[in-house]
């Protein structure tokens, strides 16, 4: 009977998950991240190898329309200002499909970058190729990479800080994670969670 019950629960799980979008686990902490080449709002393409002097990267999946992501824009600019000179520049990637939300179009991205004075690349990810490799699920969603020789190793996944909704953080996860890397330590925590807007996947 118990086995039946377990089977029942498993079946329910299967039936429900059949209707959900396909998800993959994506890169895990310690994994080597493949380089990518995505189009920036200035028309040029950007790759990690364009930054030979970088010690790592703050890769942030963010967008034009999500109020949580927009609430973080000034803090993302501040991160880039503070950490680019220390070897950890911000690279922003928009994971959303403009067909689902026209507010996420390339032109709107250009506008947003200009209006806010983005100091970092803001990249288009058509067909969510890179978004899926990272398994980014929402905006903003941050991935901290550290260079190890020619490799880029994933060291931290999650929130920028501990206040996604009010903007008054008292713990700055990304800054703490970079400080740990600079001291030759592992970030702790290496993963955090935060409320954000689900990625707008291209409808199939």
């Amino acid at each position: 009977m118990k086995a039946m019950n377990v089977l029942g629960v498993a079946l329910v799980g299967l039936m429900i998950s059949a209707s959900a979008p396909v998800s993959s686990p994506g890169y895990q902490i310690g994994d080597v991240v493949e380089d990518f080449r995505l189009k920036n709002v200035d028309g040029n393409h950007v790759s990690l190898t364009d930054y030979p002097d970088a010690k790592g990267f703050i890769v942030i999946f963010t967008c034009n329309t999500c109020p949580v992501a927009k609430g973080y824009e000034d803090r993302i600019i501040a991160l880039d200002r503070q950490y680019k000179s220390q070897g950890y520049p911000v690279i922003a990637i928009n994971p959303n499909d403009a067909g689902v939300d026209p507010g996420e179009s390339y032109e709107q991205m250009q506008q947003r970058a200009t209006d806010k004075g983005f100091t970092f690349p803001y990249l288009l990810d058509p067909d969510h190729t890179i978004t899926k490799k990272f398994a980014a699920t929402h905006t903003p969603h941050t991935f901290l990479l550290q260079k190890d020789g020619d490799d880029h190793v994933l060291r931290y996944i999650g929130a920028i800080d501990n206040d996604s909704r009010s903007g008054n953080p008292d713990t700055k996860f990304v800054e703490d994670a970079i400080a740990a890397l600079q001291q030759g330590k592992e970030p702790d925590p290496a993963t955090t969670k935060a409320v954000g807007c689900a990625v707008k996947w291209k409808s199939t």
């Binding site: 629960v9 799980g13 429900i16 959900a20 949580v68 501990n162 996604s164 954000g196």
Partner: protein, 165 residues
Amino acid sequence: MKGCLILTVAIAVFSASGLQAQQEVPLTTLDALERRLENGADTTFVINLWATWCAPCVAEMPHFERLQQVYAAKPLRILFVSLDTKKDQDAVAKFVDTKGLKNEVWLLDEKNEQHFIPAISAEWSGAIPATLFVNKSKGVRIFKEQEFDYQQLENSYLSIVQQKN
């Protein structure tokens, strides 16, 4: 004396309805929510995590309202749990009023995301919309980080209730 009490109650009700033109959205904590689920016996709870600022959340709300209407005779409870901040409590109430939501709406009074997100589900990244299905007597707790259309929602609900205890 009895008449007096009725009159008092009547005045209280009238003045309450007069003062409260809009529906209230009370605060809840994770503990209170879990106790509610624990005491729910054979009720199937569908807990929708949403926020006024989340467009796909707002778009899927009518499907949850419809599910409740279709299965009104069944032990089904829809709980809309808002992740708006406490300072937006009045705005959430206004939103509920404008949309004419019939199901319960609560505002989650939890600040620590490292606590409440994994406590609701280890599978939850924090993205919304997201929905938790709970039926204690069937031992079901299923979490879905997705936007539902009506058919998907009804199928999810039915797959739980059709399961043997």
